[in-house]
């Protein structure tokens, strides 16, 4: 297992090598329009230890809706893999995906939304 | 019970005395020691109050109050030489050019800043300089409360009588009138700011007695009254973008050719750099002199209470008054050693705790004016020898705090005196179960800079408010009138300084008054290395001080 895949396994308990790249996850994903790379393609990158997987916007666009996880024929929790990719970045020293103090129109947002974003986009 | 064994915070021999206190408690709950008459008060003050010790005072040798008696510690500073030589200060380079300079960032300073702002002074044109952090002051430490005659059975007239009587009728009547008349308005202002006073469920203020009050008019915020007010003021000052310079003291006032005050020379305590601050009006809100440890007393005061304000004002020619009147709070902690001198708020007595001697006997009405109460405790300890001696040789009397729980219900102390409870708990003493040991402690500078009703001093361009001023309380301040003092006169100072700044024209900055003052000292034959203001007290260990080399 390559180092990146190892790291993903460590965080998500998912073995990316189980994936045979059928593309079911990408087919069901509601957010692919916004993604520069499809979910299964990102998994392929991890399999090949291509660190680009971390730079793609895929994991950040993922909304943790878990449709992919429910539909994976290999039983992979794809959303958890996306979370692992996010976590690897978030845990880097100095990395900052978002700035909570700079949320636009924050006066309109409910606590639940801010909390959800804070949980997924900050460590 | 071994005499030297510590049991729940107290030594064995103290426990024996506590047993005596417990024995008389039931009886004492039903009776209160009678109030002294005015004549009796006068007598006990003369005999036992530290202010009446002749050898502790001397007349000032120079300046506007030449010949007036004051404690040696104060006279020493008035007769000390300036910290900076005028020729070392380049007045042509102005670092801060503001409308209003406020020296001192406690309650008075912040109140003045806010009201100056409300009066139309832009936040950027107001500068507060503060020796410690903004708000670190005696104001934040005040626990018990603030007086205001706002209940139907009360009125400014009764409050006025209390103020005058407490001050032994030596007060400036106009200031006293202003103090009591503006009181409710300032409490209302606090309420609007969001200060959380203790209230009944219908909004009625919970008020209790203080020493020397005839009505229950002490408003409190648990026993963190000062903290609650100061943190709200601080929040508002910062919200309004009023400029603040922390860890910066004023070391000299500035004047112009017209001899009006025109700002101050500031000193960055960390970089040791001086700044020239030019101002159209200057407000002194520097507080008092507790850290001078007059007659060696411990003090309740904060670290920076070193009389800077009166020194600065005196050098520009402002007249002072009543500096011989020092307030000793009757109940400072006398045990354990770590907290000696810290305040045991008068609210403890207000809620029903009686002072009792080592035999568990009452010897004074619990809420006499502060100087009278303090004198009675000193008499009990040193004349009648009924005090309890601590391991460090101090003496004190018991304050029977468990009575509060009996009189007001269990849990009252935790609810109304959380700061006190915490302070003693830190040293294993549970004041809900055991009495606490107290002795008078240096608390307040009754006198100070003379001000008129509009908070102006006798020098043009210089305003003052709060503990640095004299007159309002005469020779003795009542509990709950210090927060009131800084609120009422802080507001007035802010408003009038803002108005004054609009019209004032400042000429060329000078330190001529300092040169003159130095000359005056020389002429009076005063030869000393002592310099003032001292800015901070010196508490370093003797051994260290005796071996200090000045190399850097």
């Amino acid at each position: 297992m390559n180092e990146l895949a190892e790291r993903v396994k460590e965080i998500s308990d998912q073995n990316v090598y189980s994936c045979y790249l059928c593309g079911n996850c990408s087919a069901g994903c509601m957010f692919t329009d916004e993604m520069d790379t499809l979910p299964h393609q990102v998994i392929a990158l991890v399999q090949m230890e291509d660190k680009d997987a971390l730079e793609k916007n895929t994991s950040w666009i993922c909304a943790s809706c878990f449709v992919c996880s429910v539909r994976c024929p290999r039983g992979l929790d794809v959303a958890a893999i996306m979370e692992a990719l996010r976590e690897i970045k978030i845990r880097e020293r100095g990395f900052r995906k978002i700035d909570l103090r700079k949320i636009k129109d924050i006066e309109k947002l409910p606590q639940i939304a801010i909390t959800a974003a804070a949980q997924k986009f900050t460590w | 019970m071994k005499k030297t064994e510590i049991i729940e915070g107290y030594l064995g021999y103290m426990r024996e005395s506590i047993e005596a206190v417990e024995k008389t408690r039931a009886k004492r709950l039903k009776e209160t020691f009678p109030l002294m008459s005015l004549e009796e008060r006068e007598k006990i003050l003369k005999k036992f109050h530290p202010d009446y010790k002749e050898e502790a005072k001397r007349p000032a040798k120079v300046g506007p109050n030449k010949g007036d008696l004051m404690p040696h510690e104060v006279a020493d500073l008035l007769e000390a030489y300036p910290l900076a030589k005028p020729k070392d200060i380049d007045l042509s380079k102005v670092d801060f050019d503001v409308d209003i300079l406020i020296i001192g960032g406690g309650g008075a300073g912040m109140t003045a800043a806010l009201w100056a702002n409300y009066t139309g002074a832009n936040a950027e044109t107001i500068l507060i300089v503060q020796k410690l952090r903004l708000g670190d002051s005696n104001s934040i430490m005040s626990q018990g409360g603030v007086q205001a005659a706002d209940k139907p059975n009360d009125g400014p007239g009764l409050h006025y009588l209390d103020v005058m009587g407490g001050g032994h009728f030596t007060n400036d009547k106009k200031l006293a009138r202003r103090l009591v008349s503006d009181a409710p308005m300032l409490i209302k202002w606090h309420e609007d700011l969001g200060v959380i006073y203790d209230k009944e469920s219908d909004g009625t203020m919970v008020t209790i007695h203080g020493g020397g009050t005839c009505r229950k008019r002490m408003h409190s915020a648990r026993d963190y009254t000062g903290l609650e007010i100061v943190r709200s003021l601080k929040d508002e000052v910062l919200n309004k973008n009023i400029s603040v310079l922390e860890f910066t003291s004023a070391v000299e006032l500035l004047t112009d050719e017209q001899k009006q005050v025109a700002g101050a020379v500031l000193y960055n305590m960390e970089t040791q750099e001086y700044y020239v601050a030019k101002a159209k009006s200057t407000i002194l809100t520097t507080g008092g002199f507790g850290r001078l440890h007059i007659q060696g007393f411990p003090t309740t005061n904060h670290y920076g209470a070193t009389a800077d304000g009166i020194i600065l004002a005196y050098r520009v020619g402002a007249k002072l008054r009543d500096l011989d009147a020092v307030q000793y709070h009757p109940t400072g902690a006398a045990y354990p050693e770590q907290i000696v001198g810290l305040l045991v708020t008068e609210k403890v007595r207000g809620l029903g705790a009686q002072p009792v001697n080592k035999n568990g006997e009452q010897f004074v009405y619990p809420r006499e004016p502060r100087d009278v109460e303090a004198s009675a405790i000193i008499r009990e300890c040193y004349k009648r020898n009924n005090g309890i001696e601590t391991p460090t040789g101090m003496k004190g009397v018991w304050l029977d705090s468990p009575m509060i729980e009996i009189l007001q219900g269990e849990g009252t102390i935790a609810k109304k005196l959380p700061a006190m409870l915490r302070q003693y708990k830190r040293f294993d003493i549970d004041m809900t179960q055991d009495p606490i040991l107290v002795f008078p402690t240096l608390h307040f500078q009754n006198g100070g800079v003379i001000v008129k009703e509009n908070a102006e001093t006798t020098v043009q361009g210089l305003f003052a408010a709060g503990e640095v001023t004299g007159g309002t309380h005469g020779k003795n301040r009542l509990m709950g009138n210090s927060i009131l003092d800084y609120s009422v006169f802080g507001r007035i100072a802010g408003i009038n300084a803002a108005k004054y700044a609009k019209k004032a024209k400042i000429g060329k900055l000078t330190l001529n008054h300092v040169t003159k003052y130095k000359k005056m000292l020389k002429e009076a034959g005063i030869e000393t290395d002592r310099k003032a203001p001292i800015l901070l007290p010196e508490y370093r260990g003797e051994k260290v001080l005796s071996r200090t080399l000045e190399i850097f």
């Binding site: 509601m30 449709v67 929790d77 639940i112 939304a113 909390t115 959800a116 | -």
Partner: protein, 291 residues
């Protein structure tokens, strides 16, 4: 029936009508909701990182308080209304039941509270209703909402993921519990192919465009099925859908309400709907007499 109740932040702050209508309905149905004392924020979205146990602490602290309260009143059932809370609590509870090492880790860390013994059952209010029985529920209906077409929206958190096993309250691909509820209160469930689609979740904060794209589709689907209202079990979905509505013309909007509000209305108790909304519904069911 007495059960423990975990409200969550939205019901206390943003959407009190969700909680209030539930209380009203429960009173009618003889369900006594006992709020967990001092519950903590659940975190809204569960951490999927297996090595980040810290994220579970909020849920666990609430479990501990629930466990202690449960001992007092004799129940181990915790009901949630917010589907985000449900998802987090259910998931964390299952993890603690299955993974002794995580449980120990968490219990060791929380040294200021009693240990958690994972015996609580986390139940969503919809399942509680199901257990009461939709037939029985039908008998209690005072105002049958005949003629009202309702789009049952599930969102994600009630149905996915099935990891650990047991999180979904219904079939993740074809749930029916809300439809059953709709029928039992006399209304008609709309065929609603977008009922399990994601509203865009937390993207509302930094990428509202994504939410707008998602909710437009969801609302459009409800609209094309001629739904009068969208019924939501989730405060975040509700917020996002309402945000979506705001970006649409009035004619394209479909109002979003909480399922408990409609339930309360049909039970004849206070629905905490806006007056306008309530009148609209009553008008629709020909219930002018109720207006």
């Amino acid at each position: 029936m007495e059960v423990l109740y975990y409200p969550g932040c939205s019901l206390k702050n943003t959407y009190p009508e969700f909680e209030k209508s539930t209380y009203a309905a429960c009173e009618k149905l003889g369900i006594n909701l006992v709020e967990i004392p001092e519950w903590n924020c659940c975190g809204v979205v569960p951490s999927l990182a297996t090595d980040n146990v810290m994220r579970h602490l909020g849920a666990v602290r609430s479990f501990i308080n629930a466990q202690e309260k449960g001992k007092e009143i004799g129940t181990n059932v915790v009901v949630t209304l917010c589907s985000m809370c449900y998802n987090v609590l259910k998931r964390v509870n299952l993890i603690l039941k299955e993974q002794a090492d995580v449980l120990k880790n968490v219990n060791d860390f929380i040294d200021d509270q009693p240990d958690y013994v994972p015996e609580l059952e986390i139940v969503h209010f919809l399942n509680l209703l199901k257990n009461v029985g939709f037939d029985k529920l039908k008998e209690r209906i005072v105002i049958p909402l005949r003629g009202l077409k309702v789009a049952p929206y599930y969102g994600c958190a009630l149905l996915r993921p099935d990891r650990p096993k047991g999180v979904p309250i219904d079939d993740p691909e074809n749930p029916t519990v809300i439809e059953n509820l709709i029928r039992s209160i006399g209304a008609e469930p709309a065929e609603f192919p977008f009922k399990t689609e994601c509203c865009g979740n937390y993207h509302i904060v930094f990428e509202p465009g994504i939410v707008e794209m998602r909710t437009k589709k969801i609302i459009g689907s409800a609209r094309s099925e001629k739904a009068d209202v969208i019924l939501s079990p989730c405060p975040l979905c509700t917020y996002n859908l309402q945000h979506g509505n705001e970006t649409l013309d009035r004619s394209e909007q479909v109002p979003v309400i909480f399922f408990t509000q409609l339930l309360a209305l049909s039970l004849g108790v206070k629905s905490h709907l806006s007056t306008e909304m309530e009148n609209q519904i009553l008008k629709k069911i020909g219930g002018e007499k109720f207006v």
